[in-house]
């Protein structure tokens, strides 16, 4: 029943959105419009690069360890989480630290990426009010710079995997797939949030509550089996982030992939991007009147 409801919602959403896109892109000025957008983006590619660089440079400026923090921080939290929850749930699996670290890393990118995008329009209001810049560059840059820091932080997986006696294997290369899904999802959600935040500032507080809930619903520091087999399994199953994290773990541990998770997360991300792009596109011209 629940699945049916969900599917019908998604179906109707796609129909509505497709109609919208056809209206806004195809009917209006069809090809010219799209070409102008691409041309405009190409002209501003250096700015995108500069904004990404600025995010990375300023994040760790004036700290002694600098970028090393992006490795150290997940490692330290993983140690605490492993000790506390490993003991609490009585996990005997030797790869549990790796399990926790994978979840911790992916979740923290999702969290910092969406929160960064959420605030990006207001944070750059000074620039938006004074010069013309394609506005989607701000959420995009904020997600990209978080993604680059996240990619660097993935290095810490290697020593921990070796510590857990997980030898490097070819399936490690498949992590590209969950990483791709993750950035799609973050971008889609980020675009939606950044648009909403311009009009309703409460979104910042609301979303920090939501991220906390999503964290508990993503099976980051507990084994998911018990919850999956209970009546509340849908909490995990309908959370695309859980599917992405599980896929990532499967790649790291060399387990078979669950294609249902991948398909669901992929579909969810694409829908988020469609919704996000359309509402952002429709509202971007009035941003300036509200910031």
């Amino acid at each position: 029943m629940a699945i049916f409801l969900f599917k019908s919602v998604i179906l109707s959403l796609t129909i509505i959105l497709n109609y919208d896109i056809i209206q806004s892109v195809l009917i209006r000025k069809n090809k010219d419009n799209v070409m102008n957008y691409i041309k405009n983006f190409w002209q501003h590619r250096y700015l995108l690069g500069e904004l990404v660089k600025k995010g990375i440079k300023l994040k760790y400026r004036r700290s002694y360890l600098g970028i090393i923090w992006s490795l150290l921080e997940p490692l330290l939290t993983t140690i605490v989480l492993t000790i506390v929850f490993g003991t609490l749930f009585g996990v005997k699996d030797a790869t549990f630290p790796l399990y926790v670290l994978c979840g911790r890393l992916l979740f923290s990118f999702f969290s910092s990426g969406t929160n960064g995008a959420l605030r990006s329009i207001r944070a750059n209001s000074g620039m938006i009010k004074k010069v013309y810049v394609p506005k989607y560059l701000y959420p995009m840059a904020s997600i990209l710079f978080n993604f680059i820091i996240f990619l660097i932080s993935l290095i810490i997986l290697i020593p921990l995997a070796l510590y857990c006696h997980v030898t490097p294997k070819i399936s490690w290369l498949y992590i590209i797939l969950p990483l791709f899904l993750l950035i799609l999802l973050t971008f889609g959600v980020g675009m939606i949030l950044s648009t909403i935040d311009v009009f309703f500032r409460d979104m910042e507080y609301l979303w920090s509550v939501c991220t906390l809930l999503i964290m508990y619903m993503s099976a980051i520091f507990y084994p998911p089996e018990k919850l999956l087999n209970s009546n509340f399994g849908f909490l995990l199953k309908y959370n695309p982030l859980f599917g992405i994290i599980q896929t990532f773990r499967n790649c790291m541990l060399g387990d078979p992939l669950n294609w249902k998770y991948i398909a669901y997360a992929g579909g969810f991300s694409v829908i988020c991007i469609l919704v996000g792009t359309v509402i952002f596109y429709k509202k971007q011209d009035v941003f300036i009147l509200h910031i």
Binding site: H44, Y46, K54, K130, V131, I288, L289, H290
Partner: protein
Amino acid sequence: MGKEALIVDNVSMKFNLSSEKVDNLKEYFIKALKREISYDEFWALKNVSFSINKGDRLGILGLNGAGKSTLLKVIAGVFKPTEGTVIKKGRIVPLLELGAGFDMQYTGKENIFLYGSVLGFSKKYLESKYEEIVAFSELGRFIDVPLKNYSSGMKSKLGFSIATIAEPDILILDEVLSVGDAKFRKKSEAKIMQMMADGTTVLFVSHSLEQVKRICNKAIILEHGKLIANGLVEEVAPVYEKIIE
């Protein structure tokens, strides 16, 4: 007749003046229930049309609140007009807000690349012009100091040096620039004059008819968002004199 550099076609700009800004859900629902959300429409610009050719220097005259700044922001692309279109040929440099996009934690050097890319310069181009920008800005060794330690004069000097490093096709000036000290002001004026001599199209906003007469060859007058005069500066000047009497 030269080529048209800028066409402003029937541009109107509407603002909703709400007495208070409603920016959280609770307020919004309460007000919506009480039907208190009402907007006063305000047309800052109404059906403004004009065009200028390449190399023209257009003076934009008008009293306070006539819509001059709104018009400039529409032309610069910051506002999207409610109605009508603006067609621009070439790169516009608005010398309105020097250093929009400066980051205070960044050093002068890093800001050159950041602000330069905001204005649409490529990294390669900025690298080739870097020495020239630093030399013009007279910042010397301060270029490696974070911007938060700059004086306001230093910031605007740097902003001006970056914005004018390449000759723009269209230059937007709001009043006469007052950048930095007297010496730098002279230098920056000379630079602008040289750009004009080279055939850059200029939009110049001013209250002073004298300045407009001195600099511009064409002029328009805005009053309450409407275009009431448009033509050569000699023709428009008497109209403006009548208004300010």
